[in-house]
């Protein structure tokens, strides 16, 4: 049997959907990274966050490195933005009952993609 993903461990889509929405709310409210989403259509933004969180937790989506680079290439994202996104996400996961070990796993997984997004 394959190992259970975090997506499954934390209750599948019915729980993950709440994380997606909370993360989406916080991102929009953030004055540091919110502006990146100023001109993005709502459904595209929600689509992006749904896939992002799902793939991060091992759900039914996965972004290839090339896709990630392509999505962010024109955005001029700096390290500070990336750090802020991580902070926001970490807080969201804490709010939704993720245990520290799992949060660390997610954070490490994000960190490996930093160079695809920043720059």
């Amino acid at each position: 049997m394959s190992e259970r993903t975090l997506f499954e461990k934390y209750g599948g889509f019915s729980k993950v959907s709440k994380i997606v929405m909370a993360f989406y709310d916080t991102l929009l409210d953030s004055d540091d990274i919110g502006p990146f989403f100023d001109d993005i259509d709502m459904s595209r933004m929600v689509d992006h966050q749904t896939k992002f969180i799902s793939s991060l937790l091992g759900g039914p989506a996965s972004y290839s490195d090339n896709q990630l680079r392509q999505f962010h290439t024109h955005l001029k994202i700096e390290d500070a933005h990336f750090d802020e996104m991580k902070t926001v996400l970490e807080a969201t996961l804490v709010d939704h009952g993720f245990v520290p070990d799992d949060i660390q796993t997610v954070m490490q997984s994000i960190e490996t993609r930093r160079n695809l997004v920043v720059g």
Binding site: L28, V46, K51
Partner: protein, 351 residues
């Protein structure tokens, strides 16, 4: 505080936007705090069209006239969030005046959740399609390892019960000098050649109702009568055997690498089953397999040896020559026959 005052205060405080409009002029008589928070503060000269530029007033009036109701949606950005508000107009009377009651509900979250469900279901549907494709691949692979009826049994029960098939006919083929070929040829070339030849054998076998059981290196085993019984099992393998030889002769004439085979045919019983737990494979066992293997050893290059009992059932249809009695390990001494291709040798001898 009067009831009216309480009502008004309630109306002001609820999370739903409310406004009262004059039906004729579509100017605002009243609006509550929520309305103002979303759309600003209309004064007595502001019309509905001023507030909602994209609203189709003719459509609204028609709706109010015909159904006394009209529903639409409006969007605006609050900070950077797209707010979606449902606008619901109802025609009403206040004393003698005709008014329109506008109720505004925030449906932003509903729309966001709908988008999320769209996004998620697209992902899941794509995954389902991929899983289906993979399942088909696995099925295809398993059908290469075992007959379909055996596969169906395996799929349903998770195990395959060994089954006795009697009578069936077995064809055993191997190549002469295979070991030398393997050492002299490039391994890639050997595999390509075998793949080419075995694929052709498979096609020929299929044409005559044979089920290929396995290939082990240079040995090719096919059988007729497994898993579906057929009265023509002997005829099927004999026809296949003759065409295997014809195919190789034609191929040798035009290919740089020459392949010489020996074939043995035998009739009898076999047991068919899936063997192994992790690396399972469908295989057949029994006297017919053993006999066919032994008979193939008696064959000269490009010749087909046939067991006596089987030869008797073929003598109406094929030409054969007697090879004399042979001692077959594990069996009594018995005559062995050589199956001829009647296209090439018109003069044969009946059994």
């Amino acid at each position: 505080m009067s009831i009216e005052a309480i009502n008004e205060q309630l109306l002001r405080a609820i999370g739903v936007g409310v406004a009262l409009l004059d039906r004729k002029t579509l100017k605002f008589n009243f609006h509550n705090d929520t309305f103002e928070e979303w759309f600003g503060n209309p004064d007595e000269t502001t019309t509905l069209q001023d507030m909602f530029a994209e609203l189709d007033i003719d459509e609204l009036n028609a709706g109010l006239r015909e159904n006394r109701r009209f529903t639409t949606e409006t969007k605006f950005k609050k900070k950077r969030r797209t707010m979606v508000i449902a606008l619901d107009f109802t025609a009403a009377h206040e004393k003698q005046r005709e008014i329109a009651v506008l109720v505004c509900q925030n449906i932003t979250r509903i729309r966001e959740l709908e988008s999320m469900i769209d996004s998620y279901s697209t992902m899941v549907e794509r995954n389902t399609r991929e899983i289906k494709r993979e399942k088909e691949q696995v099925e295809k692979l398993l059908l290469n390892l075992m007959p379909r009826s055996v596969y169906e049994e395996y799929k349903t029960f998770g195990v395959v019960t060994p089954q006795l098939y009697d009578p069936v006919s077995v064809l055993m083929l191997d190549f002469i000098g295979f070991s030398e070929k393997v050492t002299s040829l490039d391994p890639g070339v050997t595999v390509t050649e075998l793949n080419d030849i075995y694929s052709a054998f498979d096609r020929i076998g299929e044409q005559f109702g044979c089920e290929r059981i396995k290939t082990v290196g240079d040995a090719y085993v096919t059988v007729a009568g497994v898993p579906d019984p057929t009265p023509d099992h002997a005829k099927s393998v004999a026809n296949a055997a003759i065409r295997f030889v014809r195919y190789l002769e034609r191929r040798n004439a035009s290919h740089p690498h020459q392949w010489q085979c020996r074939i043995g045919l035998a009739t009898g019983s076999v047991i068919g089953s899936v063997v192994g737990i992790q690396k399972y494979v469908y295989d057949i066992f029994g006297p017919a397999v053993h006999l066919a293997t032994q008979l193939q050893n008696f064959s000269s290059p490009m010749e087909i040896s046939v067991q006596h009992e089987m030869a008797r059932s073929l003598n109406d249809l094929f030409e054969m020559t007697d090879q004399g009695a042979r001692m077959i390990p594990g069996f009594s001494e018995q005559p062995v026959w050589r199956l001829l291709d009647n296209r090439k040798t018109p003069a044969g001898r009946a059994v």
